[in-house]
Subunit: 221 residues, 2 copies
DNA sequence: CCGCATCCGTTTCGATACTG
DNA sequence: CAGTATCGAAACGGATGCGG
């Protein structure tokens, strides 16, 4: 192939683009950031990605040292792919892209796949780095038929988004587009409540505070 | 057409990839981060990029609100492309990718184009965010037949890389691969001096300190 | 089933030539 | 200077097959 020489430029961005700039590659890395995955797991998540292209992408990522193959212990047979240390070094760039892309998320388009993991990544990327209100939220997000639960905790060191079920001051139940609308899409808490797009239990002012725990770049300048 | 719907996923990374994930697009943005550019300027910098693809990429970036066309004032006729506010919002992600890609820069490959601007971007991306030695360096970098001069200033708030000729405690003269080798490639100052790949004037210990002003992710975990 | 290789019709890219 | 037009080459998506 020698496609590693796609851009003959002594430039760091061109080098990065040669490794992760092809179609699907960043989305494969995204899935592996969520944990080790099998070939078929990746195919299932990435509709439209053909087996041959996935094979090629994984081979390139492995050759670049970002991904490692690991044989699964018995009784589960097979192979999983996982990020190496070098692969995880990509996370800052990936989160920076997630943060920028969050501003482009809305509207939810027809026939678009929705996964709780992906929303969690977006919320993590947009979590405030600076001081945010010291409040604790539980998010119940209905994505398709599944439900994802996230804990969002503000504090002087910034906002943290984690998985977990521990109780919180307030619980917000909504679908992904509503959550995104609240923090990035100009959906006012008042309007969301009126249209019953969100349900709040616990502290009554929680919904007003919630968006201030995040920081989203505005789209379409 | 309708390539705006390349990935049918409600995911921030997929949205970002739809806008800037195609071949050449990030490199076009890189050039525009350096300032407004004409169509022909971009073509000149991006060898291998055909006029038709550049036309399409610029149209898409403009449609996405990242880039604006501006008619040039007389007497210079023509059009320039420049980043909008929304386009500049991509800079954090671009610099994160630059930082990661810097670890992949070496070795300099045969027939590879070298531009001072690109090295400046890499050094800026790798400048330490945390406290770095309060020293001032002037870098004279020979890129092809041209010469680029950069000022590198350390301090408690981090390292700053700027353009400028003001005098400094020490001046380092070298080619881009040597500069990169010093901060990212395991080229020891001692070896660089011995092989006359770098020339130092001013403070004699400058070369030892210089690499500590930068922070490069190690490649190939 | 899982991980891939192969084949094939379609899309996208790259090089060159041409136009207002 | 700023693009269009054209055309062969490469990449991609979908289907199928095959060994473990």
């Amino acid at each position: 192939m020698a496609a590693g020489f796609r851009y003959p430029q002594f430039c760091a961005l061109a080098r990065a683009a040669e490794v992760v700039g092809e179609r699907w590659t960043l989305l494969i890395v995204r899935e592996l950031v969520l944990g080790p995955r099998r070939f078929s797991d990746l195919r299932e998540r990435l509709d439209g990605l053909s087996a041959s292209v996935l094979t090629e992408r994984l081979a390139r990522l492995e050759a670049g040292g970002l991904v490692a193959r690991r044989a699964l212990d018995r009784p589960a047979s097979g192979v999983v792919y996982e990020l190496t240390e070098a692969g995880r070094a990509l996370e800052p760039a990936l989160f920076a892209l997630l943060r920028w892309g969050t501003g482009l998320l809305l509207p939810l388009r027809p026939r678009e796949r929705v996964e709780g993991d992906w929303l969690r990544l977006a919320l993590t990327a947009c979590a405030r780095r600076g001081p945010s209100p010291a409040r604790t939220f539980l998010l119940r997000i209905r994505a398709g038929r599944a439900e994802v639960i996230l804990r969002v905790v503000g504090g002087p060191g910034g906002t943290a988004v984690t998985e977990g079920f521990e109780s919180a001051e307030a619980t917000l139940t909504a679908d992904p587009a509503t959550i995104l609308g609240l923090i990035a899409g100009g959906l006012s808490p008042r309007a969301a409540l009126r249209d019953r797009r969100v349900e709040v239990t616990g502290e009554t002012d929680a919904l007003e505070v919630f968006p201030t725990l995040f920081d989203v770049t505005e789209p379409r300048g």
